[in-house]
Symmetry: D2
Subunit: 435 residues, 4 copies
């Protein structure tokens, strides 16, 4: 039998708290799960630093990846199969793309990419196309199969329907992470009726559409997403940990570039610091490695690196205050920057503005960044209409970006009056810190 | 105000998936949570290698510790408070002991302790009494307070009631981990009506007893525990990972002892290998450090270490077969050992018998290992009776130890017929391996 | 001890699927629950005819009443108690009003009130103030206590804070029914984090306000409410049953008024038909009585009554089509009315327009019908702001009434071509009925 | 197309809180659900008087019947279909039997059958075979189809596998009611992993067996069942209501037989009282009718009937005490009987011993009453073994019947000292009533 159609002699089942069971019958999927590049995702947390706010959020990108696979599998096997608009030839391609879509994520992805100017999507592509176990499995299916999988993930694949399953405003990716992140953090948001949404999905040439009768379930999903963004993903404590982590990596990079002698040579970071990271180096990075270094750096000579690492490892985070980028506040920031320097606290590392921004839903705006396929409803008469034209609730929030700015700082330093008492008092007053 | 009675100006709340919220009002508890020794528990998974079987089981000992604290807090504040048998002076002591009871756990505790002949309870004691941030906080309460906390955890404290809250056959420890482990693995066992059990707990001089009306909830708890042992804790795939992990550590130790030159000096392991680990060394060990080394050792010169580490990191586990320690099976094992050697597969590392054993419930048997206080019911007439005398279900299973033996081996090696084809075939036949 | 402060020797506990346990310690509450007027609520379903759409929705107004009581109890005992803005003297009053707020509901309340021109709020008042067991219990607390309870329920009580607990846009009534109705119907809407909302409620002179930090939980609550209205409460199948029920009662009343001879004299309905129902008569009405008569009327001589009762009892409901009150559609309706007559199907009973309308949230509009206190947030600086000024999501939907009209008709009659074939075909065409 | 194979043009879906959705594609099933005999089950509560203990337990036998149907449908469509041991010709038969198995239940079935010496299984058979809408639907499938359905329900059908799906120690009936009753009462027992059990069910000639790997899920199911019996089904408050209900019916029958003149002639009961009930009469009985009469009887002349009805309607139940049928206790009962007479309280109605008894699991004991097929495991080697030989837990409780006796009495009467003060004191002392 051809490898692409090979079935396991007995179905494999993973117990999953979100989807109850994840079912694997395809040999290709089973083999992909067994690759070292996929197993590496166990050592990358799905929500980065969020576990420092919500202690349950220790779940890995591996579990999310299995979840996305399972959702796509159920949509295809339970809903699309047998419908004329669905091409069964694209089943395996869809499943592989779903399973592998996050393969290139680095440890604490957000800060990591930002500081080292990396792009996880690029590395996903490199892992799929490069000299890896994943590539070896995919190539067995067909010589051009890895390329197709990479294209689906990159949204450049010609079959838009397949792309929409993984990347749209209501894709398997989002449906898994909202539910999974809600489950592991324990918040009461993030719930919506995925089973219903899946049951009313219909394949169309350009995308999966939702039958009109499922509109309310979709509204609920959009509201869940909105709540998760502001309650979990943008939680100010998480962002504080993220700010510190970013500053740790900035400092280490700066020290390396300025010839600082590390007590233990940070070999895993060399190519990252230099900006010429290879796939092989990249795959060696995971959160265990990062934490190993941070633990070492708690004992480094450089005071800033040492302090920031200790803060991150032992959860001694920055406090924050609201910050609106008005003239007045910008002037206050300039003043604070000056005072921090006077107080001997380096504002480059200890006075940080961090912004979060989300667009709960948007209709199609060609060319915009983060352009995402909007949701379309299939009416009873066969007509297809963009969601915000049918739902008053969605129309009301559509295209309304919400942004939040906060200013982070080390309250403990500012309360320590053993040095620079006066200037610290001035700072505390400006920050309106309680005593 | 005295430190021991100090309250936070505003209650702190942690979102917890199992108990919904964990409430902290006591300054002492808040300060303990902020110590680096407690935060270290974030880097030690509650269920060790179980995440390789149940991918959701990534939760840390920190989250379990918070859970045990919360259960004890609720029992005391919501049920015991105001009852004459309860001494309110022991509230803070109980909370601290609950929070800190697992403080000494090492990374992948089970294998770690076994290979290096360590005892996490000893290290819990050392952390509480030694030169640590935890000790500094506890000493602020009173000079002998750390000692008392250590005694409660060691079950040597004179107030047996307090001890029973943390260590008995129905203590806060078990009630938290059963529910928490069920939640994160996603299994449908592990549920019981803790709220009901807590509501019917009553303080007595020697222990917390359960009102007769709660007997069925307790039966349910005991059955949950039984199911969790056999469905989750003793899962053969988890044990396979545990076997490999143990062998990794054994091999590394052996190599160190026999003067092997590691490419990267395993400094974190030196004192462990030598058997003279200090508290400071011990506290540096966590699962990030372990995984960092294992990732390095995947590239070591020693073939066995390299192979075992690769198996562990990439989840290429041993297969298993039932093994009953009968004469016949023992002879088979001897035969297999010989054949493994012939096949060039070191049986010391690749042919492993592993046993699991559990006692679902037991009445009091003085002097037995794992002696645990049995559960007592408080009847309506005030009489106190040991549970198995009242519950037919519990009586039926009381004292019945169940044991399970399995033989683990690397199926992939045995299927590789490029070398020693004949002897491998013989082995496969003996192991009744499917082809 | 005074009756108002009397506690039960042992707390009584009801198991409740929504709130886990309902706790009763106050003798007054226990006695009220035991009155026959309160127990009568067991025979009035919370959701009227909804059980014909969602078969799980068999729950009674008694269980909802207990739930509202429990929510108010928790708000007062766990959150308000001890705060200076809260007057502990109003605790029992609040609990009684919560427990009794729905006491006057009749069987299938909605249709019942409409056809017989009754008002359940008036009967709630009559039961509380009249010659009833409830009144006897309340009078024991104090001579003017029944009056105060009735005032709280009627929203005329001077203590606006107490009123707001029972009647506002985020009161205990709504919080219970949304969750309860979601639970029993089994829909996945209706969930929100009530525990969080309760924890951030604060007593103020005029109403209970919500701390700013709970805004997202409130947004979630408002969205849940919106979804429940359109997914459950206004479900077209439920409305179809409601339409039939209304027509049954109309027909019976009409027959009575026109001197029709019922085979069994409808004694329970006499005073209702005549419009002079006494409290005693009213209290005899419940859904068992209604169903008893409907079952009898399935065998009445009058064809319309017989048919409508049979439809209701055996769930043979009307079909429906969208209906927009445009000129064109109004003309169609006139045309249909004419055709129905021609076809021998009385349009007064068999061609019914039914409208549903909801306002998801509204800021204060004095004098409007259904005027309900809007939700106010308590900001960190102590300022109080109306919700829609702080929440973009709520602002977006605030004041936007949504209305839906449907036209109901008996599809089976219209498909029966044994008589009036041509005119029925015409009707079917106008109704765009599928064949 | 033949009626038996006819599919609905669009699948019908019922929202169900226990199974999420109940799916109907078969025209026959849809038509059966629409019959008046099936819809009558809406007016018979699944748990009889249990709603007086657990106020959520208002769910009807209709919802249970849909649930049993859905479980059998999933087992057949998702697990059995395509396996050689399964005969697809028996699919519709199995579904119909599942849906209709409880069709003959009367109102408050338990007491109803006991007092009037009826058997709901007989009436199920009569409804299926008699002149009913159900029979008309089934006959459309085939002339002998009604008979076959009745045989499956009566366990006399030759295809034992089909019978075992509906009636064995792990059938769809039990799996539905345990979960459903747990859900609606809100207790935390009654949960087990049905999805897992279904997935490991395998068709064999004589019965559905369970793969060995599902043994623990089955153990959990058996324990759930045990807990539900003692926590819910045999709850002493429920039994108290049952005792009163039985006595109401006994009294009414006695009055009828002794020529008492009822103010309103109890026409619905005539044939029941006389013992010659027809199918037509039987189908007119439901809980609305019963409650209608009880409400009337609250105003009857006969004091005992009046009092008992009032107790039932307004939940003024009997109290109870433990009762062991020892010589001593039997003598006490005789003494009490005498004293009740002296006190003017008729012991025939007011002093009642009620016994409950359950066998949690049993292996096969031919000829025993309640003989139920034991559970069989399918081992990996193909061998089939009875469960208690494999499971130590089940072995421990197998065949152990547990019985509980209680003595019920009206505490309010005995506390009323306006008459017969001395003898009532004596009674209270004997009953060890608290004052």
């Amino acid at each position: 039998m051809e490898y692409s159609g090979e079935k396991l002699s007995e179905e494999k089942v993973f117990k999953d708290p979100v989807h109850r069971y994840i079912h694997v019958r395809d040999r290709v999927i089973w083999d992909l799960i067994g690759t070292k590049e996929f197993q590496r995702l166990r050592r990358v947390k799905q929500l980065g630093t969020t576990y420092l706010t919500f202690h349950g959020a220790e779940h890995s990108r591996l579990s999310h990846s299995l979840g996305v696979y399972e959702i796509v599998r159920r949509i295809i096997d339970d809903v699309f199969e047998g419908r004329p608009e669905w091409n069964p030839e694209e089943r395996l391609l869809s499943l592989c793309a779903a399973l592998l879509h996050d393969l290139g994520h680095g440890p604490f992805s957000h800060s990591f990419e930002k500081v080292f100017d990396l792009d996880h999507e690029l590395f996903t592509r490199k892992i799929i196309l490069g000299d890896t176990e994943v590539n070896a499995v995919l190539t067995q299916v067909g010589a051009d199969f890895p390329k197709k999988v990479a294209e689906v993930i990159a949204k450049t694949y010609s079959g838009k329907l397949v792309v929409s399953l993984i990347s749209s405003q209501i894709d398997a990716d989002r449906m898994d992470y909202l539910q999974r992140d809600a489950y592991f953090t324990g918040v009461s948001y993030g719930h919506f009726d995925m089973e219903r949404i899946m049951r009313v999905m219909r394949p169309r040439e350009d995308q999966a559409v939702i039958k009109q009768s499922g509109m309310h379930a979709v509204e609920d999903y959009i509201m869940s997403r909105y709540q998760m963004y502001w309650q979990v993903y943008f939680h100010p404590v998480t962002r504080s940990a993220e700010v510190i982590l970013t500053k740790v990596l900035h400092r280490a990079k700066y020290l390396y570039e300025t010839g600082y002698h590390f007590e233990q040579d940070p070999v895993h970071f060399h190519s990252l610091f230099k900006g010429d990271v290879t796939l092989k180096d990249y795959l060696k990075m995971d959160e265990a490695v990062m934490l190993y270094y941070f633990a070492n750096w708690e004992h480094e000579g450089d005071e800033i690196l040492r302090d920031l690492c200790s803060r991150f490892m032992n959860r001694r985070l920055f406090k924050y205050t609201e910050f609106h980028p008005s003239n007045e506040q910008m002037n206050k920031l300039i003043e604070l920057t000056k005072l921090f320097k006077e107080a001997g606290i380096d504002p480059d590392y200890y006075l940080v503005v961090d912004s979060s921004s989300d667009l709960p839903y948007d209709f199609y705006r060609p060319g915009e960044e983060e352009e995402r396929l909007p949701i379309h409803l299939l009416k009873n008469n066969g007509e297809i209409r963009e969601l915000s034209r049918e739902s008053e609730i969605v129309e009301a929030i559509s295209g309304k970006r919400r942004t939040d700015h906060k200013l982070y700082y080390p309250a403990d330093f500012l309360r320590d009056e053993s040095t620079n008492k006066n200037v610290k008092q001035q700072i505390r007053r400006l920050l309106e810190m309680a005593d």
